[in-house]
Amino acid sequence: MKKQNIKNIANQKYKFGFKTDIESYIFKKGLNEKIITQISKNKNEPPYMLEFRLKAFKHWLTMPEPRWSCTTYPEIDFQDIHYYSAPKTNPKKENLNKIDPKLKKTYDKLGIPLLEQKKLEGIAVDAIFDSVSVATTYKAQLMEYGVIFCPISEAIQKYPDLIKKYLGAIVPYTDNFYAALNAAVFTDGSFVYIPENTICPMDLSSYFRINTEKTGQFERTLIICEKNSQVNYLEGCTAPKFDTNQLHAATVELVALDNASIKYSTVQNWFAGDPETGKGGIYNFVTKRGLCQGKKSKISWTQVETGSAITWKYPSCILKGDDSIGEFYSVALTNHHQQADTGTKMIHLGKNTKSTIISIGISVGKAVNAYRGEVKISKAATNARNYTQCDSMLMGDQCDAYTFPIIEVNNASATVEHEATTSKISEDQLFYFQQRGIDTEQAVSAIINGFCEEVFKKLPPEFSVEATKLLGLKLENSVG
């Protein structure tokens, strides 16, 4: 009976799997200096940027593809990818009313209206479609507060001083294979600058959409939060269903100066591949890192990872400023053939630095879910504190959960706690619900929501609702 009840995984619907039929300007496949030069030219970049890209590319060529994560996939042919794709009709429109209706419709369907309408008041959106930003809302209103919110391609032209100072400063291209690749070929992403003493008047968000088959999306996001400032940033992602895998290799850099606070939340819902065969889906290989540069600065990562065929992602904090705080709250749900190797790094450099890691991994079907984390207390980090809690839940008898925590303490005054649990949704629990009249689907979602509650409480309210819904959707039909 166990097999029938739990293992039986039927087709789950991915409601964002449609493709927008739009004429695009696409580079031919392949990766070389010429392609990179062309990307830079298309973006009207100043020479310093091309130089940066080519250096990164040269370095990338010397690096082996990393294979240390708990995932298996065939070798990626980096020459078989389009590195640039942009809708032909839409050179970026400053007037939101002039956006190509097809694009507008796409985002409507995704639930992201690109108009500055009342309904969406409080959230500004940067919409990125394949390799370009197609719309950014509330730009002008934000500028009144001195807040810069624009595509990074625009920032490269308009704010070279900030870009030169910070781009690649937190995640250098030498950091890892995908960071090097991203530095060479990134096309768009968001740029956020919050000036001193400013609480960003609305939440900012980016919405990433990969539309064209066999196209890689290489987003680059940079958020700078000056002294005594605050910002909440939300990130969402979806992609159409294709049989082939698409590569999404992003780099996200955050900098928080004295007393600044950045909260970065992600609800990741890329296409995860065919539920039955595991074919297709996004390879999500992402480097995210925040630098708490200033005293009492704070960076908080919250992620709900439900999509992607493969996730490889470790949003981290470097706690350089004294009394700075790093947080990582994560729920990763893998179902069917999905694989996730995710976690965080908390690098304590300053005095009295504090970090909290709450990671929840849920494995269903034939999925693999790994937590990989590093807590490092350096010599200078007197009175550093870390609390880590890592909980895994397994459903059925064909999935895997792994935990790889690394703790390195070089200062005896540190307090480091690590708690971990592994639990299983048992047949007995499901039957108990059923005997009280509650069907298994509702039962599973109640158990999992209970399990995830602590992380969901940390999400911005509208995200929390979205995340709860998303988990429900992902689990639909996952029990017989």
Binding site: N5, Q435, R436, A446, N449, G450
Partner: protein
């Protein structure tokens, strides 16, 4: 209310119930006694549709409807309740929310409106009294870290909330001290009325000092070998099962 006809149940190819017949009317309390492994719990689990116990023969009619093909949650919503011998712990799921979720699925299936948390809290106050369980258990996860007695009282609380037509109490008396036993028995008595029925599964006669059954059945090797009134239980207590098995 419940008619079990020629019911046979196999698990792992071993016959646990063999041509069992039982007839229960509304307003009745039936006690089922028997040695370990005689088939008592199998009978309970088969009635509620536990996937491990499938009928190979016979039928179970509940209010005239053969329920053997129905999913367990459907049977529950028809008004069949099992108080588990070993209630499962469900960490992370709040007891009060669980009760409300269960209550509302029953409401929905009967075409009644669902109750919001505040309305439900009002309803719960009275139920807590019936089950004689402290309010503090509402804020904890379902059965998580409850003592044996608290778990049984929590089962009774669920029964009080769901008001089943047929309640099967599987060893509700096991592991209880004398005070808890009295309390649970009192709760069961106050939930009993002329429209519902109870099947009480037990090893011991002692709970029958507090709950008065209409019938006592003795099950052996998957069959009811003897039925009688409560004096049968007294006899068993004195003479042991061996007496009955050798002199059916």
């Amino acid at each position: 209310m419940l008619k079990i006809k020629n019911l046979s149940v196999k698990t792992n190819n071993i016959e646990i119930l063999n041509n069992l017949n039982l007839h229960i009317k509304a307003g009745e309390i039936h006690v089922i006694m028997g040695t370990n492994g005689s088939g008592k719990s199998t009978l309970a689990k088969t009635i509620v549709g536990h996937p491990q116990f499938k009928a190979s023969k016979g039928e179970i009619l509940f209010e005239g409807q053969n329920i053997l093909k129905l999913a367990p949650d459907k049977r529950a919503r028809l008004g069949i309740f099992l108080s588990f011998q070993y209630p499962t712990e469900i960490p992370g799921v709040n007891n009060a929310s669980f009760l409300r979720m269960a209550y509302n699925t029953h409401q929905k299936s009967q075409g009644h409106p669902a109750l919001d948390p505040l309305e439900f809290e009002d309803l719960l106050q009275n139920k807590l009294k019936i089950a004689n369980i402290s309010e503090k258990y509402l804020d904890r996860a379902v059965n998580a870290g409850f003592s044996g007695g608290e778990k049984k009282k929590n089962e009774i609380l669920q029964m009080a909330v769901l008001e089943p037509k047929l309640a099967i109490l599987d060893e509700i008396d096991s592991g209880l001290d004398i005070d808890a036993l009295k309390s649970v028995a009192n709760s069961v008595n106050s939930l009993k009325n002329k429209n519902n029925a109870i099947i009480l599964i037990t090893h011991y006669q002692r709970i029958l000092n507090y709950i008065k059954p209409d019938y006592v059945h003795v099950i052996h090797k998957g069959q009811i070998i003897k039925s009688g009134d409560k004096t049968l239980a007294h006899k068993l207590e004195k003479k042991g099962y061996e007496w009955l098995i050798t002199n059916p």
